[in-house]
């Protein structure tokens, strides 16, 4: 359940960044320099804005988390494995993006750091449940 709530928060953070990325809104940064990060070459993968990947990733996690609490899927090993795979990739990717901010772009985007923190929390929160389901059988 915690994973679902955190994933939904992640969707909105990613949507906010995406709205900026397509020029709909200015980005309120507070501390750091969001625009420097958002206008860097790392803000897109090919033609795909990174926030769009975030929306898709958090959206998939939300769907899996909600499925996981349905009675018919409660103990699904498939969902556990999918969740493990997705959160692992998510944590690795956000860690990579955080590394880029620190070591390559030399600027911080507070919303990107928030997203990385959310993904880490999702990973940690889902570990016990994933472990329980994956170890069974």
């Amino acid at each position: 359940m915690v994973v679902a709530v955190l994933s939904l928060m992640g969707i909105f953070v990613a949507l906010y960044l995406l709205a900026h990325s397509v020029g709909l809104i200015p980005l309120i940064c507070g501390v750091g320099s969001c625009s420097t990060v958002q206008s860097s070459q790392w803000a897109k993968v090919g033609q795909v804005p990174v926030p769009l990947i975030g929306v898709a990733g958090y959206g998939s996690l939300l769907v899996l988390a909600i499925l996981g609490i349905q009675p018919s899927w409660h103990d699904s090993r498939k969902i556990g494995l999918l969740m493990l795979g997705l959160t692992t990739v998510g944590v690795a990717y956000t860690a990579f993006l955080t590394y880029l901010e620190a070591a390559v772009i030399h600027a911080w985007c507070v919303w990107c750091v928030t997203s990385a923190a959310l993904m880490t929390l999702i990973f940690l929160a889902s570990l016990p449940e994933i472990g329980r389901v994956v170890q069974r059988r």
């Binding site: 709530v5 939904l8 909105f12 949507l15 709909l24 309120i28 625009s35």
Partner: protein, 267 residues
């Protein structure tokens, strides 16, 4: 054949026998119970609240920007590549005697912390030594770094709205003094209007100016002038004598003194 114990843990879900229940959840594990139904309901309420909050925040950000007539970014303008046309639109704000032989020119961004430091620490000393004594005039050009500072363009326009009421310089000082407050908010227009009120400007006139595209052409042209002068950061300070070419100097009192001394010695 074991005893069948039926349990109803969710509406619409098939009853589960004790045997199946043990197979499914293991002997030492908790199966979903009636209380998990309550928890699920609570969970959906929390999820709904987060969804409403998120849709509200993102929707407000996008909607406010889409519906507002306030121009807060550079506009499309034809002909700015032509220096003659550019100079007809680009315009700095002058402080001091317009006939003073030396010009101290600044390209600045109201949201840039370095410009804030220059405006509050160096400029008062410059005014006392050069501007108030009639030795030089100070000319301020907008160069909002819009890729980094989301409110810089609107702040530049606000400065020109204050200029309409002959209060550019007090407003300039106010914006820099309070930079840390308005820079970090979602929409600084309310702050800009408050500052206008504090300085005794006609609030309605200022507000109408701010919530329009007025002066967006001047700010855009000033930015273009900066690009043509290959300005890359702010504050950039230049000193000139008469119609001579500007000499870039360090944005310190010493740097500006040296630059002016070199101009006067013909160096």
């Amino acid at each position: 054949m074991g005893t069948r114990v039926w349990s109803f843990h969710e509406p619409g879900v098939r009853p589960v026998s004790k045997k199946n229940r043990q197979r499914k959840y293991g002997s030492g594990e908790e199966a979903p119970t009636a209380s998990s139904g309550t928890e699920t309901t609570k969970f959906y309420w929390i999820l709904g609240a987060v969804a409403v909050l998120g849709v509200g925040i993102v929707g407000y950000s996008v909607g406010a920007k889409a519906l507002s007539p306030t121009v807060s970014e550079p506009i499309e303008m034809d002909g700015l590549d032509d220096p003659a046309e550019l100079m007809q639109v680009a315009r700095g704000v002058v402080k001091g005697d317009p006939a003073a032989p030396i010009s101290i020119i600044e390209f600045a961004d109201f949201q840039c912390p370095g410009c804030g430091g220059f405006a509050t620490q160096v400029k008062p000393l410059l005014d006392a030594e050069f501007v108030d004594t009639g030795k030089a005039k100070f000319v301020y050009y907008d160069f909002p770094l819009v890729s980094m500072h989301v409110h810089a363009f609107l702040a530049a326009r606000a400065g020109h709205c204050a200029e309409d009421q002959d209060k550019f310089w007090p407003y300039h000082d106010m914006l820099y003094r309070s930079q840390s407050r308005w820079s970090t908010v979602q929409n600084p227009a309310g702050f800009f209007e408050d500052y206008a009120e504090d300085l005794g400007l006609d609030e309605d006139e200022f507000s109408a100016c701010l919530k329009s595209d007025r002066h967006a052409d001047v700010v855009t042209a000033n930015m273009q002038l900066g690009y043509q002068l290959q300005i890359q950061g702010t504050p950039t300070i230049m000193v000139t004598q008469g119609q001579g070419v500007g000499r870039r100097v360090t944005a310190t009192l010493e740097g500006i003194r040296e630059g002016i001394a070199l101009l006067q010695s013909g160096g």
